[in-house]
Every structure is written in C-alpha cells, then in structure tokens.
Amino acid sequence: MPFERVLVAIDGSEASNRAFAKALELVAAIRAELTALAIEGPLPVYAATIAEVDEVKREKDAFFGGLAARAREQASAAGVELQVVVRAGHAAEVISSFATEGGYDLIVLGHKGHFLRDHLLGSTADRVAEHATCPVMIVR
C-alpha cells in the first residue's frame, strides 16, 4: 500500500476544503487512516484580564468545534474514519513536526495563493514541502 497514514491540514478556507475533499477521495480509495490537523493562532498574550483571554478562547472553541464537526460529517458521508487534532502554533512548523512525530507518510494541504505574501515569505504549503520528511500533496 503506498500510503497508510495520511495527514490533511484543515482551516475552513476554500483551499483547505478542496484539499480535505481530495484527501477523503484518496483515503477511501486506498483504505488508509486519515487525520485532520487544524492549527490555531495564539490567544492574546500579555493580557490584562482573564476576560480577554476567555473571549478569544470561546471564539476559537466555537470555530474549531464547528470545523471538527463538519469534517467528521463529511468523512462519515464518505465512509472514512477520521481523527481530528487541533494544535496551537505556527502552521508550517506544526504540520511538519506533527507529521514526523505521528509517522504519517503523506501530508495533504491546500494552496491559498496570496501573491505578495507567497513571493515575500513563501506560502505555508511551500514551507511544509520544504521541511516535511514525507511526501506532500498540494491541492490547488
């Protein structure tokens, strides 16, 4: 079997939705394990009140709870068992290290195509492709 453990990055964007749909197709066809990884941005640091932190945390909980639920629904409809993991940190770093630590043999992620940022800083997809220790499938 070419791939046994597939990791797909999700963030609710159109690009990641396309990548997730393609990952579902692939995993259903080859009967591999699929994990969806969502990356959260940081909570407000150096906060003056707990309320500030709680508010952002609640927003993120609602967003990522919804994202996980939708992903599981889609996976269930496609007959695929899905594990969803949410990690905090820098997207490219976390995706690469999570894939390495988890022994994944394929990373699937979308390409958003921000012209200026991509040319100045490189896209998340570029950086994951550069640092990952397994094959990377970028879905446009």
Binding site: V45, T49, E52, V53, F64, R72, V86, A88
Partner: protein, 386 residues
C-alpha cells in the same frame, strides 16, 4: 487642548487600540498603555482631572473584576501547595526592590514601598493565557500556578491597602462597611439580581458601582485605599458570577468598553519618554531587581511543587501587568512618587509582562493540545521541551 478635544483624541486612540488588538492578537491593555504613552508624549498632554477620576474608579473596578475571576473552589483545593510559592513570589521582590530602591536609589520609604509593591505582582491574566495556551490549566501544575498567583495578588492588594493607611476616625466605618458588604452582598445579590437584573438599565451593575464608589469614598476619608475590600468583594461574588455568567459578561462589557481603556491610557499618558531615556540604567536595574528575587525565591519551590515545569512556572510567576499598573498609579495619584519614578515602574511592569512570558513560551513551553475537550478532537500529551 480643551477637555472635549482630549476626550475625542483619547476616544480615537481607544478605538484604534481595540482594532489593532483584534488584528494582531495582542492584549488591548498593552496597546492602550502604549497609545497613552504616545499621545501623552507627542501632544504633551497633562492628564485632566476627569480622566484621573475615571482612571481611579476603573482601577477599583479592575480590582473587583480580578477578585471575581478567582476560581475559589480550585483555590480552596490547592492553596496549601500554592501558598508558599505565592507568598515567596510576593515577598522576595517586594523586599529586594523595596530595600534597593531605599538604599541604592535613595527613594524615601513610602516610595520604596510603592516600588516594591508594584514590582512584586504576578499577572493572573498573563499566567492564565499561557496556561490555557499550553493546556496546563487542566493539569495539577497549572492549577497550582493559578492558585499561587491568587496568593501573590491578594498579598499585593493587602499591601496596597494596609501599608499606606494613615488612619483617621473614618477607618472604623470603612472597615465595618467593608466587612458588612463582603458578608452581605453575596446574600443580597441573588434576590436583588433576580428582582431587578437582566434589564437594559442594568441595576445590578449600578449596585456594584455604587458599592465600589462607597468603598472609595470611605477609604479616602480614612486615608486608606479601597483595593483590598474591592478585591475581596469580587472574590466573594465570584461564586455568584460563575452561576450567572451573563451578569459577569455585562459587567465586563461596561468596564472594558468605557472604564478600563481610560485607566490604561492614563497609565501610558503619565509615563514620560524623556524620563525613561534619561534613566535607562535605573530601568534596567529595577527590571533585574524584580526578576532575580522572583527567580531565586520561586524556582526552588517550583522544583518541589511544579516539577517538571519549574522554570516555566518561575517565569510565569515573574510576570506582572494590571496590579503593577494599579499600584504605580496609586503611588502617583497619592503624590508618593513623581512622574519619573512612575515612568520607570510602569515601564518595568510592562517589560515584566512581555519578557518572562516570551522566554517561557519560546524556550520552556510544555507541548500540549489546548483543545482536548472539543467534540471529536484528540488530546495530545504534555511534556516540557526546550
């Protein structure tokens, strides 16, 4: 500049600070402090009396809210393990900074006490944010760190109220009314809030504000400070607010929309760029004087009670923001410290919010998933890296 022109300028700054805060994910309080610093120095604006008044009240409201944010049941479970860390975290920098300000910098004893108090604090909110970020808020070590932070905060507000009291006859009514409110409000609140609460006109918020103004007035007449009773009042109301989250939310909305921005702007406006530039060496010394005793005092205890996250715990206990700002502003308003000393203290307070947090997150942050409680989301293990 007229009062209304200053108000318009500050309102614009507050709006800008809140939008920048949302965009870059940085605490609005820090941006407001910075905004006040820029506006105050760029336009050479002296803090008007109305801003000073609102700022003072906002400081008491913040103190009340900080008390109301304490997780009392958790504190009751963990206070024994946390009290040594919390008290050492307060007394070590308080003593060292106070003594060094007195002997090395030549401050008088009241100024040295303000310096010691302002730099002895630990920021509950900064600690909480990092613990939630790392998922440690669900672990025993995180609960102990939070409880230790409560202890440090209580020691700070107690010091602020007790150290600077030069009692008049009014101390008696101040103490008696404080005790009566602390005992009575949690009993009165359920009836009052159910009879008059949940309305647009917000009688429950007006009740709390009226009580805080009463405490401020009595404290003023007694030549004391309302910080301790306000904090304890928040503490005894925390259980009520846990059961009535919407009331707490509305209280926070009023406070954060109107009151606290003026508090932090006032803090920033009183900080002088010239004074900071001329005293960079003293600034560095004060920062070191805060950090070294915090580290020397807390680290051995953290190794005992918060292993394997001792360094991380110690760095978090070295942070400070809200109570440091409240204490520094109290010293300035009461005429105990001048603008130069205030500028130095507030700058060290801000640095102590940023530097230890950044080091803790960059080099000692335990790896964890902060969302294991979401449906369908898998947990990840906790383990220190770096």
């Amino acid at each position: 500049m007229s009062d209304i022109a200053i108000a318009a300028l500050l309102a614009g700054t507050i709006l800008l600070a809140s939008t920048v805060s949302v965009e870059i994910g940085l605490s609005v309080a820090l941006i407001e402090l910075f905004g006040g610093f820029v506006v105050g120095n760029a336009f050479s604006i002296d803090v008007p009396s109305w801003l000073s008044f609102i700022g003072s009240f906002a400081g008491i409201v913040l103190t009340f809210l900080a008390g109301a944010e304490v997780d009392v049941p958790q504190f009751k479970r963990e206070w024994k393990a946390s009290i040594s860390i919390g008290l050492v975290s307060f007394f070590a920098p308080f003593a060292v900074v106070g003594l060094l300000c007195y002997y090395a910098l030549g401050w008088n004893h009241r100024q040295a006490e303000i310096g010691g108090l302002a730099l002895s604090t630990t920021s509950l909110a900064v600690v909480y944010a990092v613990l939630v970020e790392t998922g440690l808020n669900r672990e025993l070590v995180g609960k102990r760190i939070m409880s230790a932070t409560f202890v440090t905060d209580i020691a700070t507000v107690a010091g602020l109220t007790i150290l600077f009291v030069s009692p008049t006859i009014w101390i008696l009514p101040f103490v008696l009314v404080s005790i009566a409110l602390i005992v009575g409000l949690p009993k009165l609140a359920p009836w009052f809030f159910s009879r008059f609460g949940d309305r647009v006109i917000e009688p429950e918020i007006k009740l709390v504000f009226a009580i805080l103004f009463l405490l401020m007035w009595l404290g003023d007449r007694a030549n004391s400070q309302a910080a301790l009773p306000a904090f304890v009042l928040g503490l005894v109301m925390s259980g009520h607010y846990v059961a009535h989250r919407k009331e707490q939310e509305r209280m926070r909305v009023v406070a954060f929309a109107f009151l606290t921005p003026f508090f932090f702007l006032k803090g920033g406006m009183n900080a002088s760029a010239h004074a900071l530039w001329a005293n960079l060496g003293v600034l560095a010394l004060l920062f070191v004087w805060k950090m070294v005793p915090k580290f020397a005092g807390v680290y051995p205890l953290a190794r005992r009670y918060a292993a394997p996250h001792a360094t991380f715990t110690t760095l978090l206990m070295s942070t400070g923001l809200t109570f440091g700002t409240i204490t520094s502003l109290y010293g300035l308003n009461a005429g105990i410290i001048d603008r130069t000393k205030f500028s130095l203290l507030i700058a060290v307070v801000v640095l102590s919010a940023i530097v230890p947090t950044a080091i803790a997150q960059r080099f000692f942050q335990p790896r964890a998933d902060r969302r294991p409680d979401l449906p369908g989301v898998a947990p990840a293990p906790v383990g220190e890296v770096g």
